[in-house]
Amino acid sequence: MDPNQNNQKTVLIVEDDAFMGSLLERKFQQQDLQIKRATNVDDARKIIESEPIGIILLDIILPGTDGITFLKELKLNPQSKNIPVIISSNLGSQEEIDRGLAEGAIDYIVKAHTTPGEIVQKVTGILEK
């Protein structure tokens, strides 16, 4: 992995649980990745409009607009439609996974079944492509 290449790409974490968001941020920073965090869709929108984002890690259950609705919005917007989105949620039924992938997410992570280290590994793998 070329750290300089990753530095050019910012990871946006949309996660309403501040503690889990901080654990993820901490792990990403260990890999020299640039991180932006939002706890709701409104904040995430502002970040995307203000700077280039390399990848989005998106929770589904969020205050206000939910993650799936935001994902649809992202995919309809020419500015954001090419940003890869990984859903990171504790909703883990096959129906929910299928729905997320059908809406354009490139992957679906059930948080309880993984660790921040594995998430970082997955994200860097996608960024390197």
Binding site: M20, N90, G92, S93, Q94, A112, G117
Partner: protein
């Protein structure tokens, strides 16, 4: 209640027979008086006697028949009444049964909804704890002394077990509701087996259990019509049980082969085995063998139930052979179906 359906028939043949006898008797009496006694009075008496006999019989017969008919009518009315009553009871029972079924379905759905919501709500804080322990174990966070490391590792294992338990409950809720979706497609099965083996290696090492794994090379091995996630769950469950119920220093064999249009997986351990008397309950929900509870207090008894359901859905079979205190062998066969090696 059994309904008497027999009805008494009017004895027509008997009636005709009696008429004939009566007329014949009258003719004989008439002939006797006419040819032997002759006088007109005697003739009249004989005619009267014959008429009395005839009309007497008629009266007797019809009265009897009317009485019989009346009795039969009453019986039929009672039978109709009984039938109506039974019909009303059946309709009432059917309505009650429908209401009870509806209520049960509602309760069942409420139970499943509750399990799904509870599972999601429980997962979130457990994820926080799991990720915290993972961060503490991360060398980048800072060094831990061996005691601290061991405590956190045990905590992490407990959390992972709890998350697995929630997943099991969710899966069972989905199975019960018929909502467990299967995405069966033609794909390789061997990587799933390897992944399941990776999942038990740490626990097997800790118990100094020897693993003898024979998984063929991917090249040339046929793809199979399976749901990858569910099949991985099958391997993971069977291997996890094998490690859990095999004493320290034991042995586990796991091999996969192709056999007569099917993929065959054999998981054999030198563990505590299953008591013969309890083998038939092995794949029932919430069942845990008595000796298993003694070895491993945690466990829901849902794993093998799910495994069986998944294998059934793939059109496969699972067989178990076990001798208590010597070991257990599970043989899983899944048909390749239309899939052929490329």
């Amino acid at each position: 209640m059994e309904v008497e359906t027999k009805t008494k028939k009017i004895p027509l043949a008997k009636t005709i027979w009696f008429f004939q006898i009566t007329f014949t008797l009258a003719v004989i009496i008439l002939a006797f008086f006419k040819f032997f006694l002759v006088p007109g009075i005697a003739m009249m008496i004989a005619l009267l006697a014959a008429n009395s006999l005839f009309f007497g019989y008629l009266f007797f017969y019809f009265r009897k028949n009317i009485e019989e008919m009346g009795t039969e009518t009453k019986q039929k009315e009672k039978q109709i009444e009984d039938f109506d009553q039974i019909t009303r009871q059946l309709v009432k029972r059917e309505l009650e049964l429908n209401r009870a079924n509806q209520k049960l379905a509602e309760l069942d759905k409420a139970k499943s909804d509750f399990v799904s919501v509870a599972a999601h709500q429980l997962r979130t804080p457990l994820t926080g704890i799991k990720w915290s322990y993972t961060a503490l174990l991360d060398p980048d966070t800072g060094p831990l002394n061996p005691d601290q490391k061991e405590i956190i590792e045990k905590g992490l294992a407990s959390i992972s077990n709890t998350i697995d338990l929630i997943n099991d409950l969710l899966n069972v809720a989905h199975i019960e509701e018929g909502k467990m979706e299967f995405h069966i497609k033609r794909q390789p099965i061997l990587p799933l087996a390897r992944k399941a083996v990776e999942g038990i290696k740490l626990m097997a090492d800790e118990k100094k259990i020897s693993l003898f794994i024979e998984i063929p090379e991917d090249a040339g091995f046929p793809e199979t019509n399976i749901d990858a996630d569910k099949m991985e769950l099958v391997f993971a469950n069977l291997l996890d049980n094998a490690v859990k119920y095999t004493p320290n220093g034991g042995r586990i064999d796991f091999n996969i082969s192709q056999e007569q249009g099917s993929i065959k997986a054999v998981i054999q351990d030198s563990g505590i085995g299953i008591p013969k008397s309890q083998k038939n309950r092995l794949f029932t929900k919430f069942f845990r063998a008595e000796n298993a509870v003694g070895v491993q207090t945690s466990g829901t008894g849902l794993g093998l139930y799910m495994v069986k359901k998944i294998i059934d859905r793939h059109g496969g079979k699972i067989l178990v052979d076990s001798i208590e205190n010597q070991g257990t062998s599970f043989v899983v066969t899944v048909p390749e179906q239309t899939a052929k090696a490329k």
